[in-house]
Symmetry: C2
Subunit: 447 residues, 2 copies
């Protein structure tokens, strides 16, 4: 359960001011990514489940309220309001696992202004992390071309929560398993693992270590690069001869060095020993580019362990994600900050498809009826999530596969797509922007 | 409290095998960064406090044990051992806030092999995150040349735990305040904040918004770039005239556009109106390079709000950090994987100084007595932290300032330092490596 204090101070000062001013009309905030990073042709929306849980359960405890009061910055009106706070609004969102593009809302919050403002920080924090992670992991899965990818990243992910949520997002994106037991327990994600160099090192010789580990875990994967990779493979062959029919080792793991040549040599050694069924598992600083390169060189690798680069989304460690007021008290709202111009009003996205393949998205006003498949659906009403808003992780994985198959091939490939997948603004939305600009000029310049 | 399941599966399978094999002699693991990223001349060690708390409190709950049992992978011996687990070992570590270089241990764990192995994942996860974050934040603080830097990053940090721990690490590194209330409550870090564009947008005109916010929070900072930055500043001037002596606004905040020219123009406007005491606060996609550039252009900026780039350490989102077995049962241990060669045995680092300025570090064997200041100290004995191992955050901040002042100037500057600060290996440590190599060849090739 998230602490209610995991918010920016200014959310509370603004709410305090809203309450004092009586600004509690309905507001709509839109959460979206302003622009795609150069190395992402699309993003996979992820994190809605956590967002809905937060909105349903967010409460301020007596200790938290006492601490806030101790700051001496807030009105009694605010403290009373927080004491009785529960979220009463609506959420429209694209389902988890939906491919999205720049400016398309991942979700919209429709609620009295103070409520919708209060939840900004946490919704951004969670949607950002999981969308970032799922989008990266989808690239690694794509690069592996059907071979299993195992998430090994928890040790260098950014803290405990990332360790858990990134494992979830990677699984959503098609990763097969995780080394992270907590993610296994919490989400039912298959867990997998091999052994570390320390285990080999703790034994006086490598073969003795292999023998002992295979005795305890007969179908294990043995790590062979502690001293010399091919000598390590050779010791696995020795062990196979020693154990005869009891030898059930599933794979050898290569974790360093030139994985192209080592995997070829290891395969040759294993095959020559009649160990065709022993697979080759590769890890060690891999990312989607490395995986693609290994396979482009026909490396006989059966599965990949991918850690840090996927776990921190190393090439793109953040998204330009924002949560912006787009409507208040019935008026569309926008801002004009350079590079951050905002389209007003609640929105819908229509994905137009031809022969089952998306050809463009139309960003439209909420309520417009246009050709194509609408992507945003109501996920929460009056503070309660709707039936169907929380599909199982397995259902989300299936949905991701189906949705990615509906994108043009060049969108899901690793190479940057120029020009990007087309997203156009509906005429009605463009007109709405002009109206708000006119209204704003009149109001603002009158002051 | 961290879940005991936030570990890699292989820690448990290895411990299971160690127990079955009776490998419970004393082991030493060393946690260090293999090499410095190109854009980091040093790292600030951070996260020890969390590591010690983890080691003191790590327990497996009945629910966690039941889930582990349900996997059907583990022996009853392991499950019994986990049920009664508490950490009984020692920790030697550099104090939080110590500048460290490649291969220098941040901490060493000395404990029975299964215990020392079990805690690998979490120690890496926490030391990595906070060291990464403190090292990045120190650069931003350096760039700001004494001007306050406020952490605004929680919304795009990687999850809840990063939101909290990165705020802590940034404060350790010299950041002045955070927008994150949880970090304020948990660690006593000063909290700060201004207001968001949504507040301005929710009002029908900008001046009305400024008026209302300043009424509620007289000494606030007003965000002026929602529509047009200089018009925004002009409205602050209008408000000052309107309020007369009641006008106490502390600063205007510029959040977009060309901050060099906007800050100069804003300063001119404010000064011309007699508002010399109104400061200029800059934010919006800043990092250390942007901050340095703004100041190189003599931009009249008094304080900086820095968010995402600092919060995810955008240019270096991970470190090549490792936790490696260096000694077991009285023997030094190493590994020879390409690019990952390990020095055996427990270590000490001696920082040699001349006229109060460090000139080189000597990486030595534990127990050696060499010239220079030894950096590693015992922080925990028999599972309990020692008195003095948990200084206050304020004390750590002071220590950081002192330690950075003892480094050569070129080390703390932003530009990459080539050649890097010198770290040499003591003759005794070099000899120890040769001894282990010889021993290993004899043992391994005998098999």
């Amino acid at each position: 359960m998230a602490s209610a204090l995991l918010i920016d101070l200014y959310e509370l000062t603004m709410v305090d001011a809203y309450l004092a001013e009586g600004l509690h009309d309905e507001a709509a905030f839109s959460l979206f990514v302003r622009r795609l990073p150069a190395r992402r042709n699309y993003l996979l929306a992820c994190g809605l489940e956590e967002a809905l849980t937060y909105l349903e359960t967010l409460r301020f405890s007596p200790e938290e309220l006492a601490w806030l009061e101790s700051l001496g910055r807030f009105s009694q009106q605010l403290l009373d309001w927080l004491e009785h706070f529960h979220f009463t609004g609506d959420v429209h969102a694209v389902p988890e696992g939906t491919p999205v593009f720049a400016e398309e809302p991942l979700l919209e919050v429709i609620a009295p202004l103070p409520e919708a403002q209060l939840v900004e920080t946490y919704l951004l924090n969670q949607l950002h992390l999981q969308t970032l992670a799922a989008s990266k992991a989808a690239r690694v899965v794509e690069a592996a071309r059907g071979r299993p990818v195992v998430d090994f990243g928890v040790r260098r992910m950014h803290g405990e929560d990332a360790g858990l949520k990134v494992a979830r997002a990677a699984y959503v994106a098609g990763v097969s398993a995780t080394s992270n037991l907590l993610a296994g327990q919490r989400y039912g994600i298959p867990v997998a693992g091999t052994l570390a160099h320390s285990y080999i090192q703790a034994h006086d010789d490598e073969l003795a270590a292999f023998r002992a580990y295979a005795r305890r875990f007969p179908d294990t994967t043995l790590l062979v690069d502690t001293y010399d990779t091919l000598e390590g493979v050779w010791k696995v062959v020795k062990l196979a001869r020693e154990l005869g029919p009891d030898f059930q080792v599933r794979a050898v793991r290569l974790d360093s060095g030139d994985l192209v040549s080592l995997s070829h040599s290891a395969r040759t050694l294993l095959d020559a020993a009649g160990l065709e069924r022993v697979q080759i598992f590769a890890s060690g600083g891999l990312d989607e580019d490395e995986v693609a390169l290994l396979l482009a060189h026909h490396s006989p690798i059966d599965a990949f362990g991918v850690g840090t680069a996927m776990g921190v989304s190393a090439d793109v460690p953040s998204l330009d994600i924002a949560y912006k007021l787009v409507e208040y008290a019935g008026h569309g709202r926008l801002k004009l900050s350079p590079g951050k111009v905002l389209l007003p009003g609640r929105k819908q996205v229509f994905r137009e498809e031809e022969d089952g393949v998306a050809r463009r998205d139309v960003l439209a006003r909420h309520g417009e009826a246009l050709p194509g498949r609408p992507l945003l659906r109501r996920a929460m009403h009056a503070g309660r999530r709707l039936a169907g808003a929380s599909p199982s992780l397995e259902a989300i994985r299936t949905y991701v596969r189906e949705e990615l198959a509906r994108l043009p091939l060049e969108v899901t490939q690793l190479e940057p797509l120029r020009p990007p997948y087309p997203v156009v603004t509906s005429p009605e939305l463009s007109a709405a922007k002009e109206q708000v600009l006119t209204w704003l000029r009149e109001e603002s310049h009158a002051s």
